[in-house]
């Protein structure tokens, strides 16, 4: 999937993956896609809930080894 921006949040503990993702998505235009890589297991639920609450769309997520990947479309 094509992303407009990739954020590496591997090794970061909560709340940093979301803090950084928020910053990154602020720099995108509506409809553009942010790809996030994280290793904090709590990120799974948090990204889904955060996207929903912020009016964005979590269009895809997958687990690759221990790395969680998210694709979020800016709302």
């Amino acid at each position: 999937m094509d992303a407009n921006k990739v954020l590496d949040a591997k090794g970061l503990a909560c709340p940093m993956p979301i803090v950084k993702a928020k910053k990154a998505i602020n720099e995108l235009e509506g409809g553009q896609v942010l790809e996030v890589h994280a290793t904090d297991k709590g990120a799974k639920n948090d990204f889904a809930a955060w996207a929903k609450s912020g009016g964005h769309e979590l269009i895809k997520h997958e687990e690759d080894d221990a790395v969680l990947k998210f694709w979020i479309k800016k709302g």
Binding site: A13, C14, P15, K22, N45, A49, G54
Partner: protein, 375 residues
């Protein structure tokens, strides 16, 4: 304003003392609704941390200034961030050190009674998850029943009172939490007892625990008498300690009874559950003090934080012991059951020794309340 860390132990004292307390839980709404810190005089506000990244102004008027405020999250990182923001806004708040992870793992030992000739029995209250385990102490020897995976707590406690752990029991194969029984037995060379009917698939050696077994602890011989009481699982066994205490495992709780479905055979085990509760327990002295393996709601805690009640009182007041009609009983314990505990199949496999998840995975598997009862 300063931000203080508050430990799970300190929060436990606040729960036991029924103090007024305000919890700002910054986890997801789902996580909060599934499981939270319970207290009789607690007030809550749940706002996920990611909705507060731009500031806490919007919630300031909902956070009281006349009572203690604790910010809580899953591990602690987000709660520190939010507590710092509140502090910058002039509020004095604490955060829960280690978050819900440490809340889930905290064990508070409470002495529940004296046994003959100086013996003692302690209840370890796992306040965050509602699990209860026990240590019977007599003359320098100790037995542990239904231990959690936080094995150091028991080892340190036994050490601090100068007791050597010689016997470790599980009343049944647990589905809601990972047993520390095998690890404690390995570390102390104690005997590990398990009901064989629950242990048909275990991958390690154990001492079969059968109804009628008597185990003596210490030279003064505190007697632990096993009583076969199936129903929650087919092997479930209760203990009578020193003719005084009935350790009822997951068969009988203070305000509820065991559920028969966690090992997959609800319909088959209803009859066993009924017989255990309505016949076998009926034959026991009503003066016995019941010490269960769980509590469900915070109201079940006594003044000192312990969980116990006279068997006679439970026969009067526990709804699950007062269903005269057998068909109705069957309906109550097999229909409309609460959700099953998180990851309960994997927890059972871990307790059988079939899988060995790492510590972080074990923590995740145990997230949430225990859910072993039907009310």
């Amino acid at each position: 304003m300063t931000v203080q860390a508050m430990t799970a132990k300190e929060v436990t004292k606040i729960v036991f003392n029924k103090e007024a307390f305000f919890i700002l839980d910054v986890r997801n709404v789902d996580a909060f609704q599934d499981w939270k810190i319970e207290g009789e005089n607690f007030e809550y506000l749940n706002v996920p941390y990611f909705d507060l990244l731009d500031g806490v102004e919007e919630i300031l008027d909902k956070v009281p200034t006349d009572k203690e405020v604790l910010v809580v999250c899953a591990k602690e990182g987000s709660s520190i961030m939010v507590a710092d923001m509140l502090s910058e806004a002039g509020r004095s708040v604490s955060y829960l050190a280690g978050g819900m992870k440490s809340w889930s793992e905290h064990l508070e030992p409470v002495k529940v009674g004296d046994l003959k000739d100086g013996g003692e029995i302690y209840q370890f209250v796992r306040i965050g998850k509602g699990c209860l385990s026990y240590m019977v102490v007599s003359n320098g020897e100790a037995a542990i029943i239904d231990s959690t995976r936080m094995t150091d707590t028991y080892l340190d406690f036994a050490n601090s009172i100068g007791a050597k752990i010689t016997h470790v029991f599980d009343t049944h194969l647990h589905a809601d939490h990972i047993s520390g029984g095998r690890v404690i037995a390995e570390k102390t060379n104690a005997t590990y007892w398990l009901p064989p009917k629950d242990a048909t698939e275990v991958t390690f050696t154990y001492q079969p625990l059968e109804g009628g077994n008597d185990v003596e602890i210490g030279n003064v011989k505190i007697n632990i008498h096993a009583l076969y009481s199936p129903g929650h699982t087919i092997g479930s066994t209760s203990f009578i300690v020193d003719e005084k205490f009935l350790l009822s495992g997951d068969i009988l709780f203070i305000d509820s009874i065991g559920r028969p479905d966690l090992a997959g055979l609800a319909q088959d085990w209803v009859v066993d559950l009924r017989e255990s509760l309505y016949k076998r327990y009926r034959e026991l002295s009503e003066e016995l003090i019941v010490l269960p393996a769980h509590f469900m709601i915070i109201d079940e805690l006594n003044e000192d934080g312990s969980v116990s009640e006279k068997l006679g009182t439970l026969f009067e007041k526990n709804h699950g012991l007062n269903i005269a009609d057998e068909d109705e009983f069957r309906r109550v314990v097999t229909e409309n059951l609460p959700p099953q505990p998180n990851a309960y199949q994997q927890i059972r496999e871990t307790n059988m020794g079939k899988i060995t998840p790492d510590e972080e995975r074990q923590r995740e598997m145990e997230i949430g309340p225990n859910r072993c009862a039907v009310r």
